[in-house]
């Protein structure tokens, strides 16, 4: 197995173009597990850790651009106030050692349906900035990024440069169920993001289908039913939960049964929406 160390982004793109089978590696918290378990033996690893710009984030025109090499620990510390949903999800990733190494870019590259970053990225309308030496930059909305189990929309010569996402315009929540209280892969997870300006609620569902997904019908239902100037009727929250659950296509596996996942998704969706709604109403009443 070759080990290619790119020191600049241009070098990294050139290396990926020259050897499309090379697997990019940042924190290594997914890639090394697969290699150590002999699940995959790529022809080459492309080490992106020396590429300094990947570890940076910036803000321009009201959009955050988060480099693919920004770790979960930094996301929580530096962007937790502006991306609360993503920060909540990041806090549930592995142990503090893993959060010090793992990155959202890596989560996107692996595209596991259980990746914790995916639901808040979906709910927050994130866009993935991909780039290749041959064709330059391509912007891929999160909702179009996940194609199948551990498959994403990247071309073989593309690398993930950054994630673009607007700071939260309203309350955001993430919740997951695991088989223990920490350091655990999600049995299922839900993220919601309130977009009060558009009178819309974004959703993301994890670990309950071949890919992370948005619950489109549930979002449409809320867009039609919600009265943004009043409380959240319990039946609306419950129906929302049912629709989020219906959007999933879970399976039975060692972590949980499909039936349990469907049930838990409805509970998590109802709860996260209720928490977000309560926060929103509280803030609205304070302003009034």
């Amino acid at each position: 197995m070759d080990f290619i160390r790119a020191t600049t982004w241009v070098d990294a793109l050139a290396a990926k173009a020259a050897q499309p089978g090379a697997v990019p590696i940042q924190g290594g918290t997914d890639v090394m597990v697969e290699i150590n378990f002999d699940v995959r033996r790529p022809p080459a690893l492309l080490d992106l850790t020396p590429v300094a710009e990947l570890a940076e984030w910036s803000e321009r025109d009201g959009v955050l651009r988060i480099g693919a090499g920004v770790t979960y620990a930094r996301l929580i510390a530096e962007l937790g106030d502006r991306l609360p949903g993503l920060a909540q999800a990041s806090r549930t990733v592995g142990s503090s050692q893993i959060r010090n190494r793992g990155t959202v870019g890596g989560n996107l590259g692996a595209a596991s349906p259980a990746g914790d970053a995916h639901p808040p990225l979906l709910a927050g309308d994130a866009v993935i900035e991909a780039e290749s030496a041959a064709r330059g930059v391509r912007m891929i909305p999160a909702a179009e990024f996940y194609l199948g189990v551990k498959r994403n929309a990247l071309a073989p010569d593309e690398l993930i440069r950054a994630v673009h996402v607007r700071p939260a315009a309203g309350p955001q929540y993430f919740a997951k169920v695991g088989t223990r209280n920490a350091m655990v892969i999600a049995v299922c997870s839900v993220a919601v993001a309130l977009h009060p300006g558009e009178r819309r609620v974004g959703t993301g569902v994890g670990s309950a289908a071949p890919t992370p997904l948005r619950a489109a019908e549930a979002e449409e239902y809320l867009a039609a039913e919600l009265d943004w100037d009043s409380g959240l009727p319990a039946p609306v929250a419950a129906r929302f939960g049912e629709l989020v659950s219906a959007a999933a296509s879970p399976i039975d596996d060692v972590r949980g049964t499909a039936a349990y996942r469907r049930h838990a998704l409805a509970v998590l969706a109802r709860r996260t929406l209720t928490w977000a709604w309560n926060d929103y109403r509280k803030a609205a009443e304070r302003c009034a």
Binding site: V33, T179, R180, A182, M183, V184
Partner: protein, 734 residues
């Protein structure tokens, strides 16, 4: 002042927290070049025959020195199991023929110059099998279950059928417990050097003497030709108590290559390397009068054993007749041969498994009768051991109930299930009784004193990580009469005086007894020398009148007439003495020796998601006298965490079609993490026991027994739903 009973810090603690302690896989190679690495290739099917092994690619790979299969492996001699070697449960002779008995059984071993080369070459070995249909779990083979009058004879006390017939209330329930794996942080590591004179084995083991005897037997050597060293252990929990294949194949590789060979199993291989706790089905019937007094206890268990094994493993009901005074008790066990490794001890193989059903059924009986679960147990307190009919050597169970309950606040419990809440969580309080036989093993100790006044105590036992180095230092220092800083403990080498295994909760009792005898013998010896030494102020004194305090020997009543050990030793040179502890035989015993405990636990359950969190746990234990409350408390914390895993998270999942383990890694086998573990409080009810040296009953197992059933009972109290199939995963509560 006595140091026994004081919470001194671990004597090897600094070495461990600074990384200076060398565990087996850390040991540097002797000369910088000699050490080579072995990697096992493990069977991909659970039952069948190997039809071909294509090793051409592997042999041609870089750095490969040797490739061992059943075609070229050294021939092994059978190792007799329980009769000779204690829990030497793996009787399978590895790499001797083409049969595969369980998934993960080693079928080839590659030796190469580096671990990476060995790992790569192992991945190139192609093995073809003629697969046969395996028996995956006891449920697939339940029709062929057999009993074992030799190893698991039924226990019958009184007349259970009459006891059940006379009962006002009968509880008849069936519980299942899953297969589980030990998973110490340190996986199984062995390094072997084989020369014509001696075979030197560094190995992570709970019993150096058994590894020595086992290797000698299987390779046809004399035990004195084999030296086994295990200085520090990163846990074992029973998995390293047994004879296991990684050590055998490492020795084979060392013999064939003439090199020093190391084999460290991977975490995945730990699912078929050091055995497992067997899956069980336990039917319990309790008969009781309206006031809760038991009229009958019947327990019928079925457990798994390996397909190739000829001597069944644990009789998990063996302790069922002990906790409660009941005139009519019957326990039986049958076994099913399954394509798995041979079960080995794990975190209390008898009480820790077999009492789960009894303690849950007691809780069900309490609910049925409307009697408080603690009160029900008090009403059935056994004044003598019901099993043997003998009086207890000592018994602090009632005080464990009382102090544990008081500390926990048990009287505040609302008996109604689902009656206690904390916000959206249902709150449940549960309790259970714990008992564990208190035994020890024959153990020898040597204490040596130098002219600098420093002493060393040596025993060929080992420290599992529980604090054996520390307690041995305390006991020997007290016995000799020197400050604890002047005593150093050595363990983990078969060149030292022979000690027993670190299992069965025997270590503290065995090591403490031997260290005390040796320390006292040395003190007496030096006193005799001093009173006969004309240069000593003690000259001419009666030995019985010489006292020792803090390394200073003096004549009773005249503290000024004395001198220090160091001064005597400078004139009389190095002195040593041995002590031999011989446990009383179980046959013909006049008392029943047991440790006791009571677990009280609080859980909070999310009623919509079925997730359970243990939020408080109080454990009261009577284990005689506690040598070191600090290391003892650590053991209790560890034991309770194991109980949380047993109750809520840990199960080895087997695919019932092909008998392969589907969650073979920490990604899928979930041990509790910090967020699953609440504050754990340990209360020690101390008792003098005239029938046990030093009143030391041992803590290893009593620390975990009782915890899982207390949690099960708390979950019922929280939710009103009784789960009888462990572990309680969220889906089972919906």
């Amino acid at each position: 002042m006595s140091v026994v009973g004081r919470p001194i810090a671990r004597v090897e603690g600094r070495l461990k927290v600074t990384g200076a302690a060398r565990y087996t896989a850390d040991l540097p190679q002797d000369d910088g070049k000699d050490l080579v690495h072995a990697v096992a290739v493990c069977a991909a099917v659970a039952k069948g025959r190997i039809t071909s092994i294509d090793a051409r690619q592997a042999r041609a790979a870089g750095g490969v020195l040797e490739l061992i299969t059943h075609h070229n492996a050294p021939r092994l001699r059978p190792v007799p199991a329980q009769e000779v070697l204690g829990p030497a449960h793996e009787t399978l002779l590895v790499l001797q023929d083409d049969r595969v008995h369980y998934s993960g059984q080693p079928v080839a071993v590659v030796v190469a110059d580096t671990l990476e080369n060995a790992t790569h070459a192992a991945s190139l070995v192609r093995v073809e099998y003629a697969e046969e249909r395996p028996v995956a779990t006891l449920f697939e083979g339940i029709d062929d279950a057999f009993d074992s009058p030799r190893y698991a004879p039924p226990t019958t006390i009184g007349d259970v059928d009459r006891g059940l017939a006379d009962a006002a209330v009968v509880i008849d329930r069936t519980y299942t417990t899953p297969a589980q794996h030990h998973h110490p942080m340190e996986t199984m590591a062995t390094t072997v050097r084989w020369t014509a004179d001696e075979v030197t084995v560094h190995v992570s083991t709970q019993t150096i003497s058994m590894v020595r005897d086992g290797l000698a037997t299987t390779f046809g050597l004399r035990p004195e030709q084999v030296r086994v060293v295990s200085e520090f252990l990163g846990g074992g929990f029973g998995g390293k108590a047994a004879w296991c294949w990684p050590s055998v194949v490492t020795a084979m590789a060392a013999r064939l290559t003439g090199r020093q060979v190391r084999l460290v199993t991977t975490r995945r291989q730990m699912f078929a390397a050091t055995g497992q706790r067997p899956h069980s089905v336990q039917r319990v019937r309790l008969g009781a009068r309206r006031d809760g007094v038991l009229t009958a206890i019947a327990q019928d268990c079925v457990g798994e054993t390996s397909a190739f094994y000829d001597t069944p493993p644990f009789y998990i009901g063996a302790a069922t007749p002990v906790p409660y005074g009941c005139p009519n008790i019957r326990t039986t066990q049958r076994f099913v041969k399954v394509n798995c490794q041979t079960p080995v001890p794990m975190r209390s193989p008898v009480e820790g498994v077999g009492l789960v059903s009894v303690e849950s059924a007691m809780d069900e009986l309490a609910a049925e009768l409307g009697v408080d679960p603690l009160e029900l147990r008090r009403r059935n307190y056994a004044e003598r051991d019901p099993n043997s009919g003998l009086p207890w050597s000592s018994n602090g169970l009632l005080e464990c109930y009382e102090r544990g309950a008081r500390r926990f606040g048990w009287p505040e419990r609302n008996p109604e299930p689902r009656s206690m809440r904390d916000g959206r969580y249902l709150v449940g309080w549960g309790m259970a009784t714990a008992i564990r036989h208190a035994g020890s093993d024959p153990t020898s100790a040597l204490v040596r004193l130098g002219a600098d006044g420093r002493a060393v105590v040596q025993i060929g036992s080992q420290d599992l990580g529980t604090g054996t180095f520390t307690i041995m230092t305390q006991v020997a220092a007290d016995a000799l009469g020197v400050p604890v800083e002047m005593m150093r403990a050595e363990l983990g080498d078969t060149d030292l005086p022979t000690g027993g295994g670190s299992f069965g909760s025997h270590t503290a009792a065995s090591v403490a007894a031997a260290a005390r005898l040796a320390g006292e013998a040395l003190r007496a010896k030096v006193i005799r020398i001093a009173v006969a030494d004309e240069g000593s102020p003690l000259s001419g004194a009666s030995p019985d009148d010489v006292l020792v305090d803090d390394g200073y020997l003096f004549v009773r009543g005249d503290r000024s007439r004395g001198e220090r050990y160091a001064q005597i030793l400078r004139r009389n040179r190095l002195q040593s003495a041995t002590g031999d502890h011989t446990p009383p035989p179980r046959e013909g015993a006049t008392v029943a020796r047991w440790a006791f405990g009571a677990d009280f636990t609080e859980v909070k359950v999310d009623p919509e998601l079925g997730t359970v969190r243990v939020t408080r746990h109080v454990k009261a234990i009577e284990a005689g006298r506690i040598i070191n409350p600090r290391t003892a408390r650590s053991q209790v914390i560890g034991g309770v965490v194991m109980g949380i895993g047993q109750a809520l998270t840990e199960a080895t999942e087997v695919d019932r079609r092909d008998a392969r383990i589907t969650n073979a890694g920490f990604w899928g086998y979930h041990v509790p993490v910090n967020a699953d573990v609440p504050d754990i409080e340990a209360i020690f009810v101390e008792r003098d026991d005239p029938h046990i040296p030093g009143s030391v009953k041992g803590l290893g197992e009593i620390a975990t027994i009782g915890t899982a059933p207390a949690i099960l009972n708390a979950v019922f109290h929280a939710t009103g739903k009784r789960v009888r199939d462990l572990p309680i995963t969220p889906d089972k509560l919906l």
